[in-house]
């Protein structure tokens, strides 16, 4: 639970002392702006802009000479390999503030916004230094990640002539990590790299049907007694009340009975706009599935479609439809 009452009041008073202060460090770029670091950056980003790496193109451009990519601004003052140790300068008030948050249980940290302005493009040989000020700390907020506070900082960059070349702001959330996610260290809580579609729940009455899909068949349940077809599967025939059943395989040919184009919300694992149709199969039962490889504007009620069974993500096979040839 987040701190409350007098503890919270005292904590927020402590926070006030940090608002408006310089974090106490003047970051001096360790190297002048130079072609090697710029080239390394451009290679990493796949940025082929000649203004950064080609002296001839740069000279002919509005820049007149080689310049550094503007979004590289902060790279000129970052600490490099020394950052890997996690140790920080004891004079760093920003780190001190973060430790204060940590001590009250707000151990989570995430950057949510950045804004940057570039007064001019940096040229080779420019020597850059930066000063950072803690601009503001928000009131306590309930966020999707948990209860916490937003810290806004502003870093101003100057050149060797003490002229401002740009600034950037960062908005960082220090938050109390929700207990559920903090305590669960099992594999399943780790974010996988690629989201998958929602899988069906399997029970007595439907698992066999999904087994057929695994074997690339679109099955339709059939009453053993009166031979009526039915979908979705259920344990009893509504026509004759018989409990015995078997199934037939659909040809997958059908016509669109109705359809939708889903645009919102966008659920991870699916591609939008997403067309879903109720298809009347030629056997007479209906089936709901995606219609692929079609402009949503061209889908119509009555359109002939053909099913095929395909992997729709890394793990799941599903019957999907395409316009019939």
């Amino acid at each position: 639970m987040a701190i409350s009452g007098t503890e919270r009041e005292e904590f927020e008073k402590q926070l006030e002392a940090y608002v408006g202060i310089d974090i106490g460090l003047e970051d001096q770029g360790r190297d002048p702006v130079n072609a090697a670091m710029v080239r390394h950056w451009c290679e990493a980003m796949g940025d082929g802009c000649g203004a950064y790496t080609d002296p001839v193109q740069a000279a002919a451009s509005v820049h007149g000479e080689l310049v550094a990519p503007p979004t590289m601004l902060q790279a000129w003052i970052l600490g490099g390999v020394s950052m890997a140790s996690g140790e920080s300068d004891p004079r760093d008030k920003q780190k001190e503030l973060h430790r204060l948050f940590d001590s009250k249980g707000f151990t989570g940290v995430v950057a949510t916004n950045t804004e940057q302005e570039y007064t001019r493009y940096l040229k080779m040989g420019d020597e850059i230094c930066a000063k950072t000020v803690i601009e503001s700390i928000s009131e306590q907020k309930a966020t999707g990640l948990g209860i916490g506070y937003f810290i806004n900082t502003r870093t101003t960059f100057r050149d060797q002539n003490d002229e401002e070349v740009g600034w950037l702001t960062f908005r960082v959330l220090k938050f109390e990590i929700a207990e559920a996610s903090a305590s669960s260290s099992d594999e399943s809580s780790v974010t996988p790299s690629r989201p998958q579609r929602l899988k069906p729940a399997l029970g007595h009455d439907n698992a066999w049907w999904w087994d057929c899909v695994e074997k690339d068949e679109l099955a339709i349940q059939r009453c053993s007694s009166c031979h009526a077809l039915r979908h979705p599967p259920r344990p009893m025939c509504g026509e004759c009340q018989a409990s015995d059943w078997d199934f037939v395989f659909s040809t997958g040919q059908g016509t669109i009975y109705s359809f939708v184009v889903i645009r919102h919300p966008e659920v991870p694992g699916y591609t939008y706009p997403l067309v879903v149709a109720v298809v009347e199969l030629e056997e007479g039962t209906r089936f709901v599935g995606n219609v692929l490889d079609i402009d949503p504007a061209e889908v119509e009620v009555g359109m002939s479609v053909q099913a095929s069974i395909e992997l729709v993500d890394d793990e799941m096979k599903l019957p999907v439809f395409r316009r019939a040839q």
């Binding site: 579609r197 729940a201 029970g203 889903i262 645009r263 919102h264 879903v276 209906r286 995606n290």
Partner: protein, 389 residues
């Protein structure tokens, strides 16, 4: 002693919380506040209440609400399933309890943090393997997992069969917005809607656009049901329940209707309507105003047809000249409805029905002898007719 549910009970008190996007308190608090307000409006005290009923989808237990409000012994408590279809089902329960003597005064409530808490727009996903989840499993893998997507499917077919257009749906939204403009409880209080704005709004699930979909609201609403005799001694003019009925139809599915012989037939709504007319002895011609369940604009049209205000497939023609607006044939959702006031699963509509009978709606039609109030569509549903005592 066979009983038909005609004039067996009356609504004598209504109450609600403010409707917002972030209530800042628990659903229990919302339920308790709505119940307290409804009991006070009825001129009763919590000690007078001996029955409580709500939706199966309500997260707050009756006895928790009872303890919070200070209600004592309960001789009747029950729940009604199927989301918005329960909106009048809960009234049906309350009326049966009063008619049979199982309870003397029943509080009906529904409270949800529908915006700041779990949002229905985010759709179904997992949970225990119930028959319900097996049902959704036919759709989740294909991405069809929100109420908007299910209702859009039926809407598309309806438009195909009847020629109804998105502009026709807009008329439902605009008519209701005209009402909401005057209602201080409404989210869209003071904010008109034009046809151009409706048409320019983004699609949520084609063919439904943003304003065709109801809101997501934090709030609670409640009412108190007692016998007509008891109602005579209470301060507010009672809204007599002239008929109340539930219906689940052939080939009933939850929200989807995809496998029904005709997707656009709504046998459960037809069934609720038929019973309402049979029990009350009234017809559509006797109804002066209506609160028609409106999770989505299109479902209003289908209910107009099922309740016989127009022929099947002709609702768009019926509303085109302003039938749903004040001065029209059937002023509807005079609070703004769930599209424009708030989404409280239809319970805010029950309260508006009572206000229409009392003559206190912010969009009050001149004639208010009989008011129809309905519940959700595409699920087992319910409906009632309110009248003046």
């Amino acid at each position: 002693m066979p009983t038909t549910l005609k004039d067996e009970a009356a609504i004598v008190g209504i109450g609600e919380t403010e409707y917002s996007k972030n209530s800042g308190r628990s659903e229990l608090a919302l339920a308790a506040e709505a119940c307290r307000a409804a009991i006070a409006d009825a001129g009763l005290t919590p000690a007078d209440i001996d029955g409580m009923t709500t939706f199966t989808m309500d997260n707050t237990d009756e006895i928790e609400v009872a303890r919070a409000v200070g209600v004592g012994d309960l001789t009747f408590f029950s729940r009604t399933p199927h989301g918005g279809g329960a909106a009048i089902g809960v009234m049906h329960q309350a009326v049966m309890a009063v008619a049979t003597g199982s309870a003397k005064a029943v509080v009906v409530y529904r409270a949800l943090n529908g915006r700041s808490g779990a949002r229905y727009s985010e759709g179904v996903s997992g949970g225990p393997t119930t028959s319900d989840l097996i049902h959704w499993s036919w759709y989740m893998p294909s991405g069809l997992m929100t109420p908007a997507s299910w209702v859009a499917m039926v809407t598309q077919r309806y438009m195909h069969e009847t020629g109804c257009t998105s502009e026709d749906l807009a008329e439902v939204c605009i008519a209701q917005r005209e009402h909401a403009i005057k209602n201080p409880r409404a989210f869209f209080h003071g904010k008109p809607l034009t046809l151009e704005e409706h048409q320019a709004a983004r699609h949520i699930v084609e063919p439904l656009r943003l304003y065709d979909c109801c809101q997501e609201t934090d709030g609670g609403a409640a009412c108190v049901v007692v016998s007509p005799e008891m109602a005579r001694d209470l301060p507010n003019p009672p809204a007599l329940i002239r008929a109340v009925a539930q219906g689940a139809g052939a080939h009933q599915e939850s929200m989807t209707s995809f496998y029904r012989p005709t997707m656009t037939d709504l046998p459960e709504v037809d069934l609720s309507a038929r019973q309402c007319w049979e029990i009350s002895g009234l017809t559509a011609d006797d109804i002066d105003a209506a609160v028609i369940y409106d999770a989505f604009s299109s479902i209003v049209l289908w209910q107009l047809e099922s309740y016989g205000f127009c022929k099947k497939g002709e609702a768009a023609d019926f509303i085109r000249d302003g039938a749903l607006r004040l001065g029209g044939r059937l002023p509807t959702n005079t609070h703004g409805g769930q599209l424009s006031e708030a989404y409280v699963h239809g319970m805010n509509g029950v309260n508006e029905g009572v206000r229409l009978i009392r003559g206190t709606s912010t969009s009050q039609p001149a004639k208010n002898e009989h008011v129809l109030v309905t519940a959700g569509v595409g699920v087992p549903t319910s409906g009632m007719i309110l009248g003046q005592a």
